[in-house]
Symmetry: C2
Amino acid sequence: MPLPPIVFIVDDEPAVLKGLARLLRAAGLAVETFLSSQDFLEHFLPNTPGCVVLDVAMPGLNGLDLQKALAAKGSAVPIIFLTGHGDIPMSVQAMKRGAADFLTKPVNDDDLLKAVRAAIGTDRKTRQARAEVADIQQRLSTLTPREREVMDHVLSGQLNKQSAAELGIVEKTIKVHRARMMEKMKVHSVAELVRLAERAGIGKK
Amino acid sequence: MPLPPIVFIVDDEPAVLKGLARLLRAAGLAVETFLSSQDFLEHFLPNTPGCVVLDVAMPGLNGLDLQKALAAKGSAVPIIFLTGHGDIPMSVQAMKRGAADFLTKPVNDDDLLKAVRAAIGTDRKTRQARAEVADIQQRLSTLTPREREVMDHVLSGQLNKQSAAELGIVEKTIKVHRARMMEKMKVHSVAELVRLAERAGIGKK
DNA sequence: CGCCCTATTGGCCCAAAGTCCAATATCCGT
DNA sequence: ACGGATATTGGACTTTGGGCCAATAGGGCG
């Protein structure tokens, strides 16, 4: 039902690129290929599920730079690095920045397939989690400022009476805002509300 | 106030071991040294804050094996690997398993110090988080089976009436258990209780 | 200027939760 | 068998929270 995942492959060597694409397509995966980081950045759709297979050494933006660029754009797409002449510090840096995997050329077909499938699975979960948060924030955005304030008081476990005192209004009004807030957030209990807030990172530093 | 962090160094080459120890001690860190994985495993105190600096290539248990062994024991101590002849797959595997860092010999003194300090910081945070969870579970363990059941119902947002029906007892009894549970958990609102439960991973599969 | 949204308050009533004091029954271990 | 922990229920009462209907007031907009 959701969009089919696509594997984006970036490698400046046409022969390697074609070979990788053929391998993955043979495994039933949708593939898009790019000969340069710039080319990829221009055509990459952040909303497409899937993963990226990236040669580390490329003219222009290299793989690590592209990883940074994607992170800067807020993309959490899993990245599998490939390298022919990489060294350990390079692989460690890539992994620290969240790379899904870091394989050496010539890459074992099976290793690559496993890594790609795992990355696609990771991406699916990440997207699902993000979608949930987006949904919660969508609901949050429908709250009036007052309702939002009241929500914070509820989340901190305060009684309506206390909230009323702090906001300088009567308890009755708190009840009205509170009821509307619960309605808009689509929750039926404080417990549910707290969990939503935690998931959406409300109250985090 | 807490225990001072200790850097545990494991390397089968006495000269390297002494050199590393000297470097770290000169930086004001407490150090303990071991010439083998076995020796380390026998003397390592999981409750001591700090980190581990580990040579990858060692006779007997190598660094990766020791990492697994520690993980199997439930230790989350950060591990910094050192290697003279390691390869990329090795470093990637170590990082995937949660290594704090993976440095190549000859190691740059400054790189190592930075890595060690970062690892100690990570460990401090991990320990604090674990201590909080342990504290919560300590309180949990004081609940009677019935109180624990009632807690689950409260966490799922059920009314006392509903819980009573499901447990086949009258609402009055639910109130008693609920009040005692809140008391023992040291929380004053459902919101607080839900957050405690989330932190302690209650309700997670 | 009317209309809608937001914020506010009021009253009335009911449901839900919490508090205090007291009592009974079971099971377990000394 | 006695004492303690656990589970259960009762009554009486207070505090909180929620639902429904209604009303006022200010701001923004066509």
